[in-house]
Symmetry: C2
Subunit: 306 residues, 2 copies
């Protein structure tokens, strides 16, 4: 049996950095204590990346002092395009960096082994090892937050490319920030739901959870916006079912907190769309917004064990 390791895990988001001291093995992880900080910003992407490295180093220093046990490693995950092998943040639209050598700098400054990965893939790994994707061989784990992406578990292994299920064209025609049209994310992300409701109802709403409450109250604008989101998600999942035939799709991120309000109409719409495809079970994620951080911890523990 693997011995218990102590690692510091950091999930760098567009708004917040979530950090945790985690004790565990490759198949069990417990958060000892956690911290949350605003993600620092610099004048440009490179300055932001340097500021993020500094903030991570501070968090590691703070968290490694919490227990009377040495920390074995650090796991860090970031959004955007990531080269996990080389430990490089290749590109982040939101945070602006390009080809930044995170792992190298973090290893130098912490003096610890550093694992560096992709936030969505790490969250998928955690959901597969510890959450509601456990035991599944082919599963799409799809967090829905400010944006939408997916971790693809294929044949029991996490696929390291693609996963941009938020950016397939499902035909609604609205332009997306990515430069394409019709992207799932443009009408179905939490941010899109809040933005589209605000535009349609003529009153500013900042959170999809507010729109969800309005749907429950029968607000017709909220119902229409929610309906569009469900339709786009169902069509995106249909594409994944056609191409990959997964056993299940696990919905996570902030929007999944809507629970049945999301998953029941989605199940119904998907059943209408499915023709010959293997119908994936729709599940809610178990780990909430801790998934990325737990995944970062698991990656660090894996690397120590390897």
């Amino acid at each position: 049996m693997a011995r218990t390791r102590y690692v510091v895990a950091v999930d760098v988001g567009g708004t917040d950095m979530k950090a945790a001291l985690v004790s565990g093995t490759p198949t069990a992880a417990t958060v000892v204590t956690s911290r949350r900080r605003a993600t620092p910003r610099g004048e440009d992407g490179t300055a932001t990346a340097h500021a993020v490295v500094g903030a991570i180093v501070d968090l590691v220093d703070e968290l490694r002092g919490v227990v009377d046990h040495p920390v074995d490693a650090v796991g860090v995950v970031v959004p955007g395009v990531v080269d996990e092998e080389e430990g490089i943040g290749v590109f982040s639209a939101n945070l602006g960096w390009r080809d930044f050598p995170f792992r190298l700098l973090l290893a130098e400054r912490t003096g610890l082994p550093v694992s560096f990965g992709h936030d969505v893939r790490a969250g998928g790994l955690a959901e597969h090892r510890l959450g509601n994707a456990r035991g599944l061989t082919d599963v799409v784990i799809m967090p829905i937050g400010t944006g939408i992406a997916a971790a693809l578990m294929i044949g029991g292994r996490l696929h390291v490319h693609g996963g941009e299920l938020g950016h397939v064209d499902v035909g609604h025609g609205e332009p997306c920030g990515c430069g394409q049209r019709g992207c799932v994310e443009t009408v179905a992300s939490s941010a899109a739901i809040a933005r589209r409701y605000s535009a349609r109802a003529g009153k500013q709403v900042n959170r999809a959870s507010v729109v969800a409450d309005l749907v429950r109250a029968g607000d017709p604008d909220a119902v229409a916006v929610w309906h569009d989101a469900v339709d786009a998600l169902a069509k995106g999942i249909l594409i994944a079912a056609t191409l990959l035939g997964p056993e299940a799709v696990v919905l996570g991120g902030g929007l999944a907190l809507a629970g049945d309000l999301l998953i029941e109409p989605l199940r119904k719409r998907l059943a209408e769309l499915i023709v010959f495809q293997r119908q994936p079970e729709l599940l809610l994620a178990a780990l909430g917004d801790e998934a990325g951080c737990l995944g970062a911890a698991l990656m660090a523990i894996d690397a120590v064990e390897a």
Copy 2:
């Protein structure tokens, strides 16, 4: 080094059955001699499946007598939905069977170990081991014939579900035989190109290769139909690039025989569509319509080696 095996391989198509006596190892295979027969049809799907089994048994008997060396195994691949583990033809729209136990019956009647698989996946395996997908880790192998499907090589392993890249909605709106609308296959398969040209030009053409010749001659109807096919294929490949990020897409089947006439406009259209996705290299398949049969042989050789 693996010793050389002799196997009989059969690729059951909607029109023809291709059979070959193949000598080889898991990484090299040579066709000693091959045969082609019309695929027999019965009154219903089950009768067709029984007739196909009978025809395979005859082909095995004939081919095993060709060389003075015992045949080690039989490899058979069929279209449609296939349960490779159980050796069952789950469903074929074209040939009509449902849940037919091919492997069991073939093993009983030939007295040989039988491998049973999916035609497109087997062709992808062959193209990966012996053809133009060699050395690639993440690659989509996409034969374009009467229909369109894809073998997905992900992390160096063949994915066993999905692959129905011919049946993703790319927005042209035409109804597909599968029950959906906008499928790639509906405008881009060889059959669709011949059918759509015939309808548009008001003269019957039965082969996409005739339309290709008309494109070369500048026939405007042929050019329009070809353009639609290229556009749909590019949008289908874009979806695969978004979701899977493959290094390359290998185009096979009858339509790929058009060579540059297909691949050059397709490359151009895909480059226009790509925004942030990893741009896959477009390659032509090396094995032509032998790919399925060679893949069936490799599956049989693998099983003997295992």
